[in-house]
């Protein structure tokens, strides 16, 4: 039996994302290690049983020289669906105008903690309003289309869900989908690897507090005359 044919779409995606979290590892390499760990076919039930030690020692120590935190992270991605943390997070109230100088971001996520989602398949978009010194989780947007509603284009439907956001963070996105996102005025940011939403917000806040690049200042609604001030400083 072909090993890939037996994989669920969701699991295949998670293996791909987990491989990206590891240095010099493609999905094929990770797949061969997983096969050595649990045998074929690879299933969700078997993946749950893998621990750090199995992963390190499989295929004569293929991953022996990989840092443990990275392996632990990869494992958590592999098992992500089975440890959903979404319920823990509470939405915070937000009314337009509450947070001046802020930007609304959407994070494509499966676990609600990390930006670990592919645009077209993630289970939810975590929506945050972020200013220099505050970040509120204002919505968790599920991606299931409402019952009985025929969706013409899945990617347009998903992009419209987050239409009021200025920035979208994703672990991966396809070219045509990215074009549809841009068309709605959302700035897509594809991350080089999986990162926690907290880290991304941290970094964004540093940028907002400093000198935001002109395109960001523009989407944040900072007046062009105010922008000019630091442009002149920067060129000076």
């Amino acid at each position: 039996m072909n090993s890939q044919a037996a994989l669920s779409r969701e699991l295949a995606l998670r293996i791909g994302l987990a491989a990206r979290a590891l240095p010099d590892t493609d999905a094929k390499r990770l797949l061969s290690v997983l096969t050595a760990c649990v045998g074929l076919p690879i299933t969700e039930e078997k993946i749950v049983g893998i621990n750090l030690k199995n992963l390190k020692t499989a295929v004569a120590g293929e991953f022996l020289d990989v840092d443990e935190p990275l392996l632990t992270h990869a494992l958590s991605i592999l098992k992500s669906d089975l440890h959903t943390h979404t319920d823990v997070q509470e939405r915070q109230a937000y009314v337009d105008g509450d947070m001046p100088g802020s930007v609304r971001i959407a994070c494509a996520s499966n676990d609600g903690i990390n930006v670990d989602g592919h645009f077209g398949s993630c289970s939810q978009f975590m929506i945050y309003q972020v200013s220099a010194d505050e970040a509120r989780l204002i919505d968790i947007c599920g991606t299931d289309s409402p019952d009985g509603l025929e969706v013409d284009d899945k990617n347009v439907f998903r992009a419209e869900l987050i239409q009021d956001c200025q920035i979208l963070y994703i672990a991966s996105v396809g070219g045509p989908a990215a074009a549809k996102i841009v068309k709605l005025g959302i700035h897509p940011m594809k991350l080089p690897g999986i990162e926690s939403i907290a880290d991304i917000i941290d970094r964004l806040q540093t940028v907002i507090a400093g000198t935001p690049p002109p395109w960001l200042a523009k989407v944040m609604g900072i007046d062009a005359t105010d922008r000019f001030r630091f442009e002149r400083e920067a060129t000076g």
């Binding site: 841009v182 700035h187 395109w215 442009e231 060129t235």
Partner: protein, 66 residues
């Protein structure tokens, strides 16, 4: 005849820099910029300006008013 980059829209991706046949694009202190003295709008090299072709942002690279 030359093109310029709209500062408020440029996301500094850098895609335009290597495709310029006259090497008129450089990274400025804020965003990328086009040297209007050397930009030819790709006349003689290509049918359409290459920077405009690769730029991911609509209306970010425009012709300078003469």
């Amino acid at each position: 005849m030359a093109l310029y980059i709209v500062e408020a829209d440029c996301i500094s991706c850098g895609d335009c820099e290597p495709v310029c046949p006259t090497m008129s694009i450089t990274e400025g202190s804020i965003v990328f910029k086009i040297d209007k003295k050397t930009c030819t709008e790709c006349d003689g090299d290509f049918d359409i300006p290459q920077c405009v072709k690769v730029c991911p942002v609509d209306n970010c690279i425009l012709p300078l008013e003469a």
